[in-house]
């Protein structure tokens, strides 16, 4: 089986893991957003749309103001605003959260194409020059470590940001009072309300945070990796992030492991020019691994008890 030896040989190359890391981070940021939102009790399947919106506005802002950091800010605000729509619809108006999420994804796909058409006509959206894209930065000293240095410490700045956010979300959710409150609101909002927590404020905050993180992911995709905007360029990452969140049992570290597996699958697939097996078989790989891991190792994955249930103060 030359294909298997090909893959095994690949797995020990730092190149593969470096590419996998980028793919994983593109999933990790929206997945963390999903974890925060759903831990507070609001189902969020709109990461795809928030990410796509962020991607467009990142390119637009970068082409206008020639600064990747302003672009990131604009992208995060755009993602946050999309999330705000979801929050208002599902928290204030208590609408079905799945429907609201789908509506936002469709809306984002239409909105971005509409904006492209209105602002750029049928011309090129334009290309962000490398000097104005989100930079790659080698961490001094650490980047010299063999293997690990290349994989973790010779990356785009957003990769570092994402890893820091991962640790922060893990700590905040499970080691701080704020995290306890978020989880309480997601498990039993009535009890949390009785205890004096403002369920609405916490849920709004959680949903908007998911939008900010998805917007950041969109910015990374558009002005860190691709340096342009192409309609529908997010290509379902928001949904795969959703799977990663469930796979990871609504924990940041679990989602991270899932994202690494998906990212690794993508990176292995990207080597189809040299692996001697049908590229179609290869493209199934990450999902096959997921099925096996889900069935064999992860087992039952239970969402927060009040996930998806709108809260009305005073009702039972």
């Amino acid at each position: 089986m030359s294909a298997i030896t090909d893959i095994l040989q690949l797995l020990v190359t730092a190149n593969l893991w470096q590419v996998a890391m980028v793919s994983a981070v593109l999933l990790l940021l929206p997945a963390l957003g999903g974890v925060i939102s759903e831990r507070s009790g609001v189902v969020n399947i709109a990461m795809e749309g928030m990410m796509l919106t962020g991607a467009f506005f990142a390119v637009w802002a970068d082409l206008n103001w020639h600064s990747p950091w302003i672009a990131v800010l604009v992208a995060m605000i755009a993602g946050g605003l999309m999330a705000l729509i979801h929050a208002v619809v599902s928290i204030r108006f208590r609408a079905d959260q799945i429907v609201s999420g789908i509506a936002i994804n469709i809306f984002a796909a239409g909105l971005t194409v509409y904006l492209v058409r209105t602002i750029y006509g049928l011309q090129d959206v334009g290309h962000v020059v490398p000097a104005e894209a989100l930079p790659t930065w080698d961490v001094p000293l650490l980047s010299a470590i063999p293997f690990i240095g290349k994989v973790v410490f010779q990356q785009n700045v957003v990769v570092y940001i994402a890893l820091i956010v991962l640790v922060l979300v893990e700590i905040v959710l499970f080691r701080t009072r704020l995290g306890l409150r978020i989880r309480a609101v997601g498990e039993h909002p009535q009890a949390a309300d009785t205890a004096g927590l403002n369920v609405y404020v916490i849920r709004y905050g959680a949903v908007i945070t998911s939008g900010l993180l998805s917007g950041l992911a969109g910015a990374f995709l558009a002005i860190g990796v691709s340096n342009t905007f192409v309609p529908n360029m997010t290509d379902g990452r928001g949904y795969i992030a959703l799977a990663a969140m469930i796979f990871g049992k609504w924990t940041p570290r679990g989602a991270f492991v899932a994202c690494i597996i998906f990212g690794l699958g993508e990176a292995i697939y990207a080597n189809n020019s040299t692996i001697h097996v049908s590229q179609y078989l290869l493209s199934m790989l990450p999902y096959l691994i997921t099925l096996v891991v889900l069935a064999g190792l992860v087992g039952r994955s239970t969402p927060p008890a009040a996930d998806g249930i709108p809260y009305a103060a005073g009702s039972e």
Partner: protein
Amino acid sequence: MGRSQLRYLALVGAVLMVVAACGSTSSGPAAKQVKVGLVTDIGGLNDKSFNHLAYVGLQKAIADFNVKGEVTESKTGDDYVPNLTNFASKNYDLVIGVGFLMQEAVGKVSGSFPKVHFAIIDGAGTDASGKDLQHSNVQSLFFKEQDAGAMVGVIAGMLEKNKKAPGNTNVISAVGGVSIPPVNHYIAGFKWAATMEDPGIKVLIGYSNNFTDPAKCKSVAQSQIGQKSEILFQVAGGCGLGVLQAAGQAKVYSIGVDADQKDADASVIASALKKVDQATYTAIKNVVNNQFQGGALTFSIANNGAGYSLDNIQLPSDIQAELDKVQAAIKAGSMTPPADIPA
């Protein structure tokens, strides 16, 4: 307002957004004129590639023949049949489907509207199994992408043979979107010509399984660069922009596809051109002149329907001479780039 009412409101909102997003572009006065409907595939008009070029051809025809042109963009593969039917049922004189992916839809709709003329870029009107139904009201606009691929293959092969490439590794590569005939024709010509110029060259071929996500193509390109490829040919539309980016970052060369992609990245040394604009224009012209004919119309180097552009580097004069020689030979028919990727 109750919960269920809101649920419907959200749905209605979503539908409205889709409708708004599928907005169409119209122009020209509404005199008694030829009406042309153009339906894009999922790439959309901003694909910087063949959908865009088809639109350019339509615009030129509108200007030259005073035809009425409408465009509908398809969001998903499920939109092809309704979008084509929409134009056909309004008695448009010509309905153009852009792209191989629309073959089956064109086959189906052209059967239902035998009096409407259809044209399809990169394909024929087929049944579900891909068999050409040979409807007499369908004109297939095919391209010999291998001609264009061969021209850029000559450039890559000559650069390697003459040791003018960035690192002279003697490895080049192609990144295809999906393994479908129009994509593989390009790659076939590219590999054939590069190997002809430099028999020792190694040509890597990979696919991204995607046409819209540059990050996916970038990963494939990076893996090829890791295997020492230093001239990368993108054959993946909008996705392939990631190939050009990856080449730029790694300081190696890249080659654009379909349209001249000089401005996409400094690494682009040439582009393989497929003149979809010319094909679209020709199809419309034929309808205007009542010269529509069913069957295949092929665009190649011989009728200037395929070619190449030189982009961000100055080519040595001997490579230019070789390009002219090969182009003349293909035009004369003494050289024929293969349609299938050589082993």
